[in-house]
Assembly symmetry: C2
Homo-oligomer: 574 residues x 2
């Protein structure tokens, strides 16, 4: 962005609001709107106003800089993609209603690009590359379109959003690994420069596909993903993929004979445990799912939940649901609430790994109002088939080290994938190898959401007064607040400051509205630029007030020494 | 764009071609593709490759800088616009198939923004502005979509293209005039900085509407518009609007009696004139049009053509066409080729202004193979109705001064409009005036095509070898050509040059491919960066070759003095 003249606050340029907008469910969404940085146009579709756009440009400059440092090449693909390449990769059919589609005046099919593996791979193929041209990493920073079923949280889950998407091509899988590591580093650098603490977690590859993928997660209560990570080592994974090392003992130590107890109307794990005076670590939990018309009884330790994400991966489908009350009569052999693995009829079974070898358990007796105690795996039932099917709990051990796992919500800001040959083979992305033969290129793909980063910065850097922009991605560095714009002396100081900032290469936000000092101070804190310079009555004594927004630290300085004082304050601002 | 590492030529990054692509009808289109700067994805839809994108960024930086200098504020509107605002302005219905439309998963209507008067005006209205907030000029630089019936000429007439569009709001019409003048200046500055010689011409307001508009035209044979301009003053107009001062005498001086001559099979103006030994200035030309099922005979001086654009404006419709051969039998009273205004039956008539008072004319006799001579307007027929309906010809006088008009083809790079209250009234864009009353804001709108400018630069700055990028908008400033990349000494010099350029803040294009020197030199001229530095065998003598691409001026310099020599060469390059 070319350095422009200073921006003046007005109702049109920076339309600040006193109240949170009704539809803003998270603070960062509310703040971006209240601070006059963006406006909603339709569900999940926003305009960025001058300050919001300036901040986005800062973020995108950081992204571009880190990509260029890794030798990646920027291009610009079109927004509308012809259907044919998407049909060739079959994603035209797989994408479903999330892909926005349209026809041109001749009736030809197009979509608004939700991502660009197809176009980039086709372009690569069209250049007839040789092994000498590889590796190559091509990226673009562009608006993308995904018709989310539930757009919400402002820019965190929008239908139109901006993303940097990169695509790398290689002669071998091990060469992909090198670029994958470089992108991993670049993404962490981007997060760091945007003042975001990102954790890298193993993730599922979803609709993009490929072999391995990692997500870059910023821990936040408003994050829509659940992640599990080790406080001691680098291990981390999306909850759908996590592995954990149990630290609690599931079941009892002694062997007891199996016996039936009457538990009238008592079926939740906690109720059963408290009725019998034991802990949930002794209870075998059962959840009944309906999968393709049959019931699957899933058994996990009583202190854990079933991970439906892991179940989805295990079953290879997401077409299942917990047995509903209105479905009970379809399966009369079952006794929901009292289902156990001993003598169970009318259901397939699946056991979590931790059930293997557990002794002295309490479980349903497959008889209304009865449980069994003293049940041993191996003696009374066999835990077969067995799978990692339970959720992690706080206090679980790390699968990779002696440390312990944390469970948290995270905002996904980036996602990197090793694609293998998935797209190259289907779309003919071959290179001529050293021996003259044509071989499909190995690929990686890397995405980072720039509008999502923008809002995540606000989510992580705010207080009760408003946004606290970190210096590196603030829309502008300084706000000049003129308390009495009609006072000639204050006006003269403003002109002097504007000239000085121009010489320093700093564009300022200027508030010289005819409103009260209170409104100006509140708006300045709401907008949250790193430094506030106040031109008030002290100008008659040759002094100006100054505030570092992040720390709310205040001071004053002599007009004669303005440049030095402002430089020093800016240097010290976070 | 952040300064990145140097860009290396490879088949993937800069896929140069030896041959012109088959579908490129104009040189600039062919050159952008041959120089590996862009690729077609579908008709009128392109990807910009690294060098093409870098050049576009340069152009857009210039545009942004000139807009900011005029105090305009940049925002970013969404790409997909909800239908409702377009329905409110009724342009949803007026735009026709040129507007690309789509539905979201709930079946709601959207379009891909072809322009943004509706969204910006609605935004302005939503801020409840006061007169103190005006004037305000809001702009964005964004990809736009228009489903052209005949996309062609590469980026000159594309379906997806980039444009800077600005919208200004004012308390009065005279205040619009000030901003209109500023934008006029800004656009001329942009053209100048992009090394384009733009002429400002009066234009029709078309679908945008409003009172007055001007186009910024770069004179070029491949331009799709015809413009008329004075070589002496600032007068200029699109041909559909031009006014001209005839300098030839139409008709003869003496009065002669009317008489019929046999002109067997002779009907074109030139043939009639040569048959009778007179000039076309004595012949009254007639063109027959079919308008809503009726014939209109349009009469103009024999040395002029009928302007169908003027006819369209006169008739208020574009639903007319010249009478076709297969339609002759529908109108048996007419004698096409021999139609004249004396005793004409079966057609309405329309005369050009210049016919009024003309004497001693030759015209069709309304009888197969016969013409009339000695025909006088006023005596033998009345030139009624009368309108400015003829095209200008070379040598016509300027309507505003004593100078003479030029007629040329032009590429429209920008268009500015005074909108009046057209959008404000319909969309409720009111401001609170000094007296507390609500008044509709006066508006202006200003568009300049950045991808079109990009290609126009190439069209205007090229030679038989390739593109000659002017320094100010070249994708990069320097290409380093390494003749023998495997020579350690040449490689060492390359490393030194790259370090030096980095220190100078210059990103270079590097050609260290294992191809012949000829291929490298040809590609360098094709790509056309301002300066070429050749690392060849002369490095053993401590020397490098250098070429200024625009002038093909060559020289050499000592490696010890590289920084100074390169700076001097760059300074002298156009």
């Amino acid at each position: 962005m070319a350095k422009g003249v200073d921006l003046r606050i007005s109702r049109v340029t920076v339309p600040t609001l006193r109240e949170d907008p009704a539809d803003a469910e998270v603070s960062s969404h509310a703040l971006l709107i209240r601070a006059g940085m963006m406006r909603q146009i339709a569900a999940g579709i926003y305009s960025l106003l001058p300050l919001g756009l300036l901040a986005l440009v800062r973020v995108e400059e950081i992204v571009r800089d880190e990509m260029n440092k890794k030798g990646a090449c920027e291009i610009a693909l079109p927004y509308i993609h012809p259907a044919d390449v998407w049909i060739e990769s079959e994603r035209w059919f797989k994408y479903g209603p999330e892909m926005m589609r349209l026809k041109d005046r001749q009736g030809r099919d197009f979509c608004l690009g939700p991502t660009a593996e197809e176009l980039v791979t086709k372009y690569f193929a069209s250049t007839a590359p040789s092994y000498k041209d590889l590796p190559i990493n091509i990226y673009q920073i562009q608006t993308k379109f995904r018709d989310e079923p539930r757009p919400r949280y402002g820019l965190l889950r929008a239908r139109e959003f901006r993303m940097m998407d990169a695509y790398s091509f290689h002669t071998s899988s091990s060469d992909v690994d090198k670029t994958y590591e470089e992108m991993h580093d670049a993404y962490l650098n981007i997060a760091r420069r945007c003042s975001l603490d990102a954790r890298v977690v193993e993730a599922s590859t979803g609709l993009i596909g490929g072999d391995i993928s990692h997500e870059f997660m910023v821990i936040s209560q408003v994050g829509e993903d659940v992640i599990v990570y080790c406080k001691n080592c680098n291990y981390g994974a999306n909850a759908e993929l996590e592995r954990h090392r149990p630290t609690r003992i599931f079941g009892g130590n002694k062997e007891e004979p199996i016996s039936e107890v009457h538990t009238p109307g008592i079926f939740s794990v906690d109720d059963v445990a408290s009725f019998l005076g034991i802990t949930p670590e002794r209870v075998l939990k059962c959840v009944l799912y309906v999968v393709q018309g049959e019931v699957l009884a899933v058994f996990v330790p009583g202190y854990r939940d079933v991970s439906e994400e892991k179940l989805k991966r295990f079953l290879g489908t997401d077409e299942f649901h917990p047995l509903r009350d209105d479905e009970r009569e379809i399966f009369p052999e079952l006794t929901p609430g009292f289902t156990g693995p001993v003598g169970l009829k009318g259901a397939r079974v699946l056991f979590d790994l931790e059930v293997k070898g557990a002794k002295n358990l309490v479980c349903g007796a497959n008889k209304e109002d009865y449980h069994l105690t003293g049940v041993d795996e191996g003696r009374d039932f066999m835990a077969e088939p067995l799978a990692d099917i339970a959720c992690a709990v706080q206090g679980d051990g790390c699968p990779e080290c002696d440390g312990y796992l944390e469970i948290a919500h995270g905002i996904e800001i980036g996602h990197i994938f090793k694609l293998g040959l998935k797209y190259s083979e289907v779309l003919g992305a071959n290179f001529t190898d050293r021996d003259g033969s044509l071989k499909p290129a190995h690929m990686g793909t890397y995405g980072i959401g720039t509008t999502r980063i923008l809002q995540t910065i606000v989510e992580q850097h705010r207080d009760s007064q408003g946004i606290r922009w970190p210096k590196a991605c603030a829309p502008l560095q300084v706000e000049i607040i003129v308390l009495s714009p009609s006072d000639p002396m204050q006006n003269e100081v403003l002109v002097m400051l504007e000239g000085m900032f121009k010489n320093m290469g700093i564009q300022a936000l200027v508030d010289e509205r005819e409103v009260s000092a209170g409104v100006k101070f509140n708006d300045a804190d709401l907008i949250g630029l790193p430094l506030q310079v106040v031109v008030g009555s002290k100008v008659s004594k040759g002094m100006l007030d100054l505030k570092i927004r992040y720390t709310q630290e205040r001071g004053d300085f002599s007009i004669d020494n303005a440049a030095g004082a402002i430089k020093k304050a800016l240097d010290s601002a976070p």
